[in-house]
Symmetry: C2
Amino acid sequence: MSTKQGKQTYTNDRKVYIKETAAIVGPREKEGPLGDYFDEVQNEDFDEKSWERAEAKFTGSVFQKLMRKIQLKTDDIDCILAGDLMNQCIASSIGLRDSGVPYLGLFGACSTIAEGMVTGSLLINSGGMDNVICMASSNFCAAEKTFRMPVEQGGQRPPTAQWTVSGAAGLWLSSQSGGPVITSVTIGKITDFNVTDANNMGAAMAPAAADTIIAHLSDLGLEPSYYDAIITGDLGLTGSGMLRELMDMHGYSLYDERNNCFRHQDCGAMIFDPIKQKTHSGGSGCGCIASVFASYFYKQLQGGNLKRILVVGTGALMSPVSVKQSESISGIAHAVAIEAQ
Amino acid sequence: MSTKQGKQTYTNDRKVYIKETAAIVGPREKEGPLGDYFDEVQNEDFDEKSWERAEAKFTGSVFQKLMRKIQLKTDDIDCILAGDLMNQCIASSIGLRDSGVPYLGLFGACSTIAEGMVTGSLLINSGGMDNVICMASSNFCAAEKTFRMPVEQGGQRPPTAQWTVSGAAGLWLSSQSGGPVITSVTIGKITDFNVTDANNMGAAMAPAAADTIIAHLSDLGLEPSYYDAIITGDLGLTGSGMLRELMDMHGYSLYDERNNCFRHQDCGAMIFDPIKQKTHSGGSGCGCIASVFASYFYKQLQGGNLKRILVVGTGALMSPVSVKQSESISGIAHAVAIEAQ
């Protein structure tokens, strides 16, 4: 059973464990500061003829890798929750069409893996499900082609632009004990601060992240210092600065005075080295927070370096058509509180 | 709490009521055989400058209409589950961005409203949620532009093609008593029978519908005759015939010998008059089963003409890019068993 706390938050009375994870990324992610943490590296095209097929193969391969790791049969998995940023989420549906597992498609843009953890942990708390797999993916060239310009055109990027991560990740959520526990989840509202620049997604998503983090802390009566780290993905460098300012404005400082650093970390800001790799504002895409959480942060929780974290997936709810029609870019963020055991 | 039955089905121990519905459709739907059942009719463009904005306005207006009907405050709604077929589901996110309600985006193609009922009833069974709104929408011209050709081009359609419904619908699921009850739900698997013709979605989805209906009946040990009606949406005329044949092949006849008719009904086949309205194989789009269930079938349950029905939302998991890349069109279907009180 789950219990509603305040307006948007649910605590899990039935423990939900993140028992295992898998992440496959591309070469740029492998060369970045977190390169050693990922399970596997593959070329961005994954030996496929199209970028869309490549992204689907990342998804399918992560599912296979996770199933090998966890040694369950597909019949033991109650449901897959998955999504991506391709039109009509084809990377997930094509990549998982041979899985033989009941499938619920999600659309949360780059917040998808967090939306999966939120929904999956509540489904397990409904009592009927015991094993759920959450997945998300993105691919640099597939996203460039969909949202911006073909890479071959060599268009110049402004400093606020982010680089879509090529990668996919999967998480096994289970009622069986073992691994870090999802203790509570907060479902975000759509926020819109009238940002219309598709090359500045951090600005569109930072208000959503602030809104959801404040809702989470307020619903549970917590201060940011309750968490060893508050992890967003993927605001990038630009959006991270905005989030920290917005939180300050609302009286919640994300600065950790004792350790003289921010307790806020952003997967988009961490996955690349912005100077050496020339990745401007950082990483983005559904695969960004998914692969960084599934590898680096999951290992920090397992190793005891982090005890309590809040993972906040952020998504920009837009399409190339909506941007061309001068629609503003709405944002959404979902938060998942996780404790090491 | 929910209880797993067999492999894909969950029974709801906590009763989930469909307490209220709302549906707004376009003029073609109003002129069809079910025209009198819809709450409101609006022009396809809904006085907006683009088809995408029009679809978003259908969604936003249905939400407003439903909120007026149910006389709850937005704070009383725990969560909206919504999706559509636009790229990156912008109709839902733009249409609902001012709602102020926690939002989980779904992608299930035309199965979205069924995916919403499946997920929503399990979320209510997790104990923490009491009121969930499920929504789905589509718009004829927006879908033609996205998936086929601009309407202005006047391209000819083969007889298997379907007409996207312009419309949106919303359902209020609640733990408070009143209205028909969702008794069990079955989560579908992705099926793929190698259909590659984007003008024959019925053929792509019929195997998914058969797979989910058989899973549902087998998980619960039921025969089709347990239900007064098994309602799919939107297989259209072509896909409906295929489903009936497939079910026969698996030993489950959908024919009702006593009443000399099929106990299977398809929202896509019902919403238009194929001869008078020249709609070929029938209606389609996320708004098709959503608006027909929310109006016609909901009133049949309320009026006592139907006591027990199985609603099976079917979706074709494809994009224009995947079709051009010769990918086959996968299908998915989710089933929701509903009983009048």
